[in-house]
Subunit: 468 residues, 2 copies
C-alpha cells in the first residue's frame, strides 16, 4: 500500500474513554462520543461467562427471564390470614428465625445478637438477656435463616415460635410466604435493642396484635396486598424506607373491623397500628417473597430471586438455584443520621427487606418518593436517578407500580445478574441504619450499595450450570 | 431626511401577534418573538383601572397584597372542636345555610333545591320533600349564604341548625370558621339528592358522627389542619378533588380515639370515616376560610378572598370589601363523566369549595396530583400546566404546600384580580359534577373555569375605591 497523502478532513466516532474525543474536538473536528465501558471491568472470567450468557445461552436465559418477569408482574399476592412462626414450613424445636444468610451467634453483628437475646427471653427460654446470651452461645437455641422457611424478616429481626406471622399466598404460583408483624418504632428488637421494653413489645405482638389481626382478617377477608402497595407508590411510598401511605390505606380499609374488635384487643391494637407507619413494610415483604418463591422455580434465569443481609454477610440466589452467593455486608452510605451518630458507629446493611428491591419496590420506586429523595441529594431528579440506575440492571418493568413524578413510568423489575456484572452497577437498597454496638436502635436511614462480588459469583455459577 | 438605500440586513423583535414574526422568519432573517397580548383584551375601562392599579395605586395595592399573602401563608388554622349550625355567627330561626352567593329557592338549581328539601325534612320542619318544597317556595324556611356566617359548605350543601360543624380557629387572625361534616359518597344531599337515604344521612351526622367527633376532639385535642393538608399534598392530594391522603393521615392520627369511642358511636362512625375519602375536604375548606377571614380584613388589596358558587351564580369578593361581584355560574368543562352522563345533563359549577383555590389548594396544587392529572389530559405535564396557569394570576407562593413532581415548588397563593383581568386567565377549579335535573347525584368530575366578568367588576370597584 502506498500512502500518497494524509486525509485533509476527519470525522471521528470515539467509543469509550472521552479523553480521545476531547482531543479530536480540541482540533476543531467533528466527533461523536459513545459512552462505553469495558464489560465486567475486563475481568476475563466474567467476560467469558457474559459472552456465553449473551451468546450461545441467550435464548435460554431470555426465555427463562421472561417467565420470571411474568410471574413477578402478574402474580396477585393476598394476605389470607395469620399463623405463628411455629407453623412455617420446616420450623422445629427451640429455634429463632433470623434475617439474611446463615450465621452463627458468635459471628452475628451486635444488633442481631441483641435481637436474638430479646427473642430468647420473650419466648420464655431464658429469664434475662444474660441467660439468653449463654443459651445462644452454647447453641441451646438454634438459628435458622427466615428465608429457608419461606419467611422474610426486616432489619435485625429474630423471631421465635410464638411470634405471629402474616400469611400471604400467590394463588397462581401456589406459593405461600410469611413475615412477622412489624415491631414498630422506638425500643424494639428489630432495631437491635434487647431492653425490657423491646422484649415486652414481642410479647405484646404475640398476646394482642396477632389475635387482633386474626379477628380483623376473619371479618375483612383476604386482602390484595400489592393493589394497596401500588396506590401507596403513587402517593410517595417507596414501600421500603416509607410505607406511610400504604399503611394508612390499610388502616382506612380495616377501620370498621378495628372498631369491632373486642375491648381487650381494640384500644391497644389501635395504638399500635396508629403509631406504626411501617406496619405495611412486613406485608409488602411477604407479598414480594410469595412472588419470588414462584419466580425462583424457573431454571436457567439470570434474575436474582433472593437478596438478603444479616449485618455480617450479604447473600443472593438466582432463580432455579438454592445456593447462597455471599460476600461481606456493605455499610449503608448516602445516609442521614440522627444527631450524634455517623458512619463510624453504624452497623452494616441488614435485613431481608431487600426482597422488595427485587420486586419493583424500594430503590426501583425511589423516583416517586419525596421521602427517599431526601436521602439521595434532596431533589426528585436525584430520586429519579436511583430508579434509572435500577433500570440499567433490571430485565423488565412493573406494570403494577407506576411513578407519577416520572410520568407514570413503571418501576424497574427483576435484577438481571448479567447486566449487573456487565455494568458494575449493583442494586441500591433504601434502608434503616442501626447502631453498631451500643444497642440504641435506629440511628438513621440511607442507601446501601450491594457488593458486586456475589453477583459475579452467581453469574459464573449460572454459566457453569448452563454449560453442563 | 433622505433615504439613500434600504437596509440590506434586518433583525427583528416582534411583540404580539406571531404572524409578523413568521413572515420575517420566512425571509430568512433573525427574529425574536415576544409573547404578548393586549391587556384586558383592550377594554378601555379595564385598561384604565389596570393603569391606575399598576401605577399610582401600585404601592398601596402591593403593600396590602403582601399583608394578605402573609396572613394566608403564615396562619395556622386549628380544628378546636365541634358545634352546630345553630351556633354559627348570625344564625337564627328556621334557616338553611347554602353554598354560594345569595339566592332564592325558585332561582336555585335543581340539585341545590333537592338538598334544601332534604335538609328541611331532616330538621323535622316537613314530613316529606313535597311538604318541604311548599315551605321553601313560601319562604317559610329562610335561606342564607353559609359564607355570611363564616361557614363554607361544599357542592350543593344546604344545612339546618341541627347539623354539626367543624370549628377551625386561626389564632393569629382571631378568626373562626365553620364547615359541616362531609356527607360522604353515594345517596347524599350535598350531591343534590333528596331521597330517604340522603335525609337519613343528615340525621346520622347529627345523631352519631357529630357526637363521635366531639368525643374524639375532646380526647385528641386541637389539630393543625394544614400540617396534615401539606403532607396530603406531597402524597398526591390536591385537597379539592382528592383528599384521600389527608383523610387517611387524619384517620391514622385519630385511630386510638376512634377505638376508645363508646359502643353506640364507634362502629357506625368507623364505617362512616373509613368509607369517606373526602372527609378532609370540609376540614380543609374551614381552615382555608379561617385564613381568608383574616386576610379579607386588609383594605386596598387586589386579592380575591371569597370565591363561591351556588349553581346559578358565581361570586367573588376582594379583600377589604363585603360586596359580592357575581355573574352566571359556568359549566364544568375538562370533565370525566360516569357512564351515561355528559355536559348536556350536568348542573353548573357549585359549592363554597373554591375557597381552596384561593388558599394554595385545589387547582394550584394540581401539579402534584396524579388524580387531578387524569382530568386534565392524563399526564403530569398537563397537571403542572394547571398549576402554572395559577402562577400567572397569583400574587405569591405558598411556603406550606409544596409539589414533589415539580421539584417541591410551592403552590401559587392569592389570586390577584389585576393579573386575572390583565391576562384574561381566570381560576380553574377542580370539582365534582352533579346531574342538572334528575336528582341522581354526582355524575362526574372536572375543571370549572371561573367567568371573567365578575373579576373585571371587582377590579373596577377596587380602582374606584382607591380613587376616592
Amino acid at each position: 500500500m502506498t500512502v500518497t497523502s494524509l486525509p485533509d478532513s476527519v470525522a471521528v466516532v470515539n467509543v469509550g474513554l472521552p479523553m480521545f474525543a476531547d482531543a479530536v474536538r480540541a482540533q476543531g473536528r467533528p466527533v461523536e462520543q459513545v459512552d462505553w465501558r469495558i464489560p465486567a471491568d475486563g475481568d476475563p472470567v466474567a467476560v467469558r461467562a457474559l459472552t456465553s450468557l449473551y451468546g450461545v445461552h441467550a435464548a435460554t436465559v431470555d426465555a427463562a427471564n421472561a417467565e420470571v418477569l411474568r410471574r413477578l408482574d402478574e402474580g396477585v399476592p393476598r394476605l389470607v390470614g395469620t399463623a405463628t412462626v411455629a407453623d412455617v414450613p420446616g420450623f422445629e424445636g427451640r429455634t429463632l428465625l433470623h434475617c439474611g444468610p446463615p450465621i452463627a451467634y458468635a459471628q452475628a453483628c451486635d444488633p442481631l445478637q441483641r435481637s436474638m437475646r430479646a427473642a430468647t427471653v420473650a419466648e420464655g427460654w431464658a429469664d434475662d438477656v444474660t441467660a439468653a446470651d449463654d443459651l445462644l452461645h452454647r447453641g441451646a437455641v438454634a438459628l435458622s435463616p427466615a428465608n429457608h422457611h419461606d419467611t422474610v424478616v426486616p432489619m435485625a429481626s429474630a423471631v421465635g415460635p410464638s411470634q405471629p406471622v402474616l400469611v400471604v399466598d400467590d394463588a397462581e404460583g401456589g406459593t405461600r410466604a410469611f413475615s412477622p408483624l412489624n415491631q414498630g418504632p422506638g425500643e424494639v428488637a428489630w432495631f437491635g435493642r434487647d431492653t425490657d421494653a423491646a422484649i415486652e413489645r414481642l410479647r405484646f405482638l404475640a398476646s394482642t396484635a396477632g389475635p387482633a389481626l386474626t379477628a380483623i382478617l376473619d371479618a375483612a377477608g383476604p386482602l390484595d396486598v400489592l393493589a394497596i402497595a401500588a396506590q401507596g407508590i403513587t402517593m410517595g411510598d417507596d414501600l421500603h424506607m416509607r410505607t406511610q401511605a400504604a399503611t394508612n390505606l390499610l388502616t382506612r380499609t380495616w377501620l370498621p373491623h378495628v372498631a369491632a374488635l373486642p375491648d381487650a384487643l381494640r384500644v391497644p391494637f389501635a395504638g399500635y397500628l396508629g403509631g406504626n407507619h411501617l406496619f405495611f413494610l412486613n406485608l409488602a415483604m411477604a407479598a414480594a417473597k410469595s412472588l419470588q418463591l414462584h419466580a425462583g422455580q424457573v431454571e436457567g434465569s439470570s434474575i436474582v430471586t433472593t437478596m438478603s443481609r444479616n449485618g455480617t454477610t450479604f447473600g443472593i440466589k438466582l432463580s432455579g438455584t438454592d445456593e447462597w452467593r455471599t460476600c461481606p455486608a456493605p455499610p449503608v452510605g448516602e445516609a442521614l443520621y440522627y444527631s450524634g451518630n455517623g458512619p463510624e458507629t453504624s452497623a452494616r446493611d441488614i435485613g431481608d427487606s431487600a426482597v422488595l428491591e427485587l420486586t419493583g419496590m424500594g430503590g426501583p420506586a425511589a423516583g416517586g418518593s419525596a421521602a427517599v429523595a431526601a436521602f439521595l441529594g434532596g431533589s426528585m431528579a436525584d430520586a429519579a436517578a436511583a430508579t434509572a440506575a435500577f433500570r440499567t440492571i433490571c430485565a423488565g418493568t412493573s406494570s403494577r407500580f407506576t411513578l407519577p413524578p416520572m410520568e407514570f413510568a413503571g418501576t424497574p423489575l427483576g435484577v438481571d445478574v448479567r447486566r449487573v456484572v456487565e455494568t458494575g452497577v449493583t442494586p441500591k437498597i433504601t434502608t434503616g441504619i442501626l447502631h453498631a454496638s451500643a444497642g440504641t436502635g435506629q440511628v438513621g436511614a440511607g442507601v446501601a450499595t450491594a457488593p458486586l462480588a456475589c453477583f459475579t459469583d452467581a453469574l459464573l455459577d449460572l454459566a457453569a450450570r448452563l454449560d453442563r
